[in-house]
């Protein structure tokens, strides 16, 4: 087991208001596995990623859980030790909106900064490596390396970050919406790239997105989140073909088709704050009395699913 997350919970507290962003989340990641984490905006995906790499800042706080990487708890180890692992063994592609690139230095200098801080000082080798990586993500190194972040389009910035995450040949890359601002051809390119680094170098990947079609093309396993809760966890193909949780079902049925007739689809939206019960209750067509209580996680058809519909009878 490469990574083992158990019972992880994160809250943000502002004044007397508390946002429970991640609730008792557990999952395992094998070496060489691609895990897709999917959920709508605000479901806690980025918070979960940030918690794993110790990047939760106030008013956020990890309130429970462990993150075991190669047998050691990342959350417990001294920060100095963790810093050596970060980028070198575990790297991270932040969500585009987080403006991860330093706006006042060139793209090349961002690479140099990460390289320097891990003792990679050979300037010539670095230039070569960086140019190579830029080509891999479909960017023209001659043009882009000398540019400042504001001169790049949204998708170009994402691709720069993906290249940066590969700079020090890590073992695990956590990618937060790496392709959601990209067009299909670029998505295809990046997906192929991720697949190849995953297969050839056995790099494990946590791939976060709100786009189920996108992630389905790459992930071995899907982890569906809603309002900070795990809703379903299982093999990608199983989930796509036969989603169990009503939220997963909704996700899959709201994709407009490429060909054929288009129907008006009205999707129920969330109208109220979540307080208790099933997090999906207010939008669920199958809700019944039991759903006023938070569903437990049930094992069903080789999958984990949080929904009362799958409660074993007679239990």
């Amino acid at each position: 087991m490469l990574l083992e997350v158990s019972d992880l919970s994160v809250i943000y507290s502002a004044g007397n208001k508390v946002v429970r962003a991640v609730n008792n989340v557990s999952f395992d990641l094998e070496k060489g596995e691609v895990l897709g984490i999917i959920g709508e905006s605000g479901s806690g995906k980025s918070t979960l990623a940030n918690a794993i790499i110790r990047a939760i800042k106030p008013p956020g706080k990890i309130v429970s859980g462990r993150v075991i990487y190669k047998g050691k708890d990342l959350l417990e180890m001294p920060y100095d030790e963790f810093r050596k692992i970060m980028w070198k063994e575990i790297s991270y592609v932040p969500q585009a909106s987080q403006n991860a690139l330093n706006p006042v230095i060139t793209v090349y200098d961002s690479f140099k900064y990460v390289a320097d801080s891990h003792g990679f000082n050979d300037e010539k080798a670095l230039r070569e490596k960086v140019s190579e990586l830029m080509k891999l993500v479909g960017l023209d190194p001659k043009r882009v390396l000398n540019m400042y972040p504001f001169q790049l389009s949204g998708g170009m910035r994402q691709r720069v970050m993906i290249a940066l995450s590969m700079l020090l040949d890590p073992e695990l890359i956590i990618m937060d919406e790496p392709t959601s601002a990209l067009d299909m051809l670029n998505q295809e390119l990046i997906l192929k790239l991720i697949k190849s680094i995953n297969k050839e170098m056995q790099i494990s990947i946590i791939y976060i997105t709100h786009d189920i079609l996108n992630v389905a093309q790459i992930a071995d396993r899907l982890f569906v989140m809603y309002k900070g809760y795990m809703m379903e966890d299982g093999k990608t193909e199983d989930i796509i073909k036969d989603p169990l949780n009503p939220y997963t079902q909704l996700l899959i049925s709201s994709i407009p088709p490429l060909k054929g007739e288009i129907k008006n689809i009205n999707v129920k939206e969330d109208t109220s704050y979540y307080v208790s019960g099933c997090p999906f209750l207010s939008r669920c067509d199958h809700a019944f009395e039991r759903c006023k209580e938070l569903p437990s996680v049930f094992l069903y058809k080789n999958r984990k699913v949080r929904c009362w519909l799958y409660e074993p009878h007679g239990a």
Partner: protein, 325 residues
Amino acid sequence: MNLMELRGVSVIFEDRGGGFFKRRRFYALKNVSLNIGEDDLILVLGESGAGKTTLGRVIVGLQKPTNGSVIYKGYDVWKQKRKIYATYRREVQLVPQDPYSTLPYNKTVKEILEAPLKRWNKLSKQELEKRLVELLDMVRLSPPEDFLDKYPHQLSGGQRQRLNIARSLSVDPKLVVADEPVTMVDASLRLGLLNTLAEIKNKLHLSMVFITHDIPTARYFYHLVKRGNTIVIFGGKVVEEGDLEELLSNPYHPYTKDLINITPSIDNLYKEKPEVKINYERVDFGCPYQLRCPYVMDICKKEEPQLIGTNSHRVACYLYGGQNR
């Protein structure tokens, strides 16, 4: 009459080549012409870096074209500034690409919506309140009273994007450019947002430029509005233009074909996809697609193909003629 016209618009950036690289002129847009009529829907398709956002910024006046002109209601907005600029900047609004970084973190919904209203109109306190409620109702943030005092981070992604739309509508625009309005929200919220946007467009007879890289999204929106002229941009140039369904069922340009073939859909997810060459180098002469095109011919490397065809479907590619113009 056309509400807006772009005539031969180019946007050129000088790349600053640090150290050993020379300065080079980079065409983010090259010779783009576009007519936008009242109540029109224009769909803009194209890959990352194609120039879609740049086009949107030119339309709303955030980017001045290097060459060519932007005509609004018959006036050149950069040359006849005194006559039209104020009206133009108010009547043409943008829903920006990134809903996160564009909403201020420390302001409430009320404050965010009030700012543009106060900037352009003199309203009494009651009128202002009424307008705010109207706006929130229109984008279906209801009941409005529940939302006025919230901060952006207290809203879901879909709600945040609704707020962005309300903000762009607050000053009664005639033309709205929506730059990838649903790209960052998940499929289950996407449709609701598109439904609302189309409902508003249809009700107010707004002209709209809808930028997206996602064909199914474009198609769904087209269906809601019941029409939509589409331009496909590649390397800063319009390579194909026409009604969306016509263009999808009968694509001409090799790039448009590639784009359609590669788009995933729920029923072809595990099918082997056709191999598509990717190459981001830009060319100085000839067709912008020549480095990736499977049909490339000699002439494609020499001269730029021009847009030819009928009014309802045009293409810039030598496979369809175009050299004799």
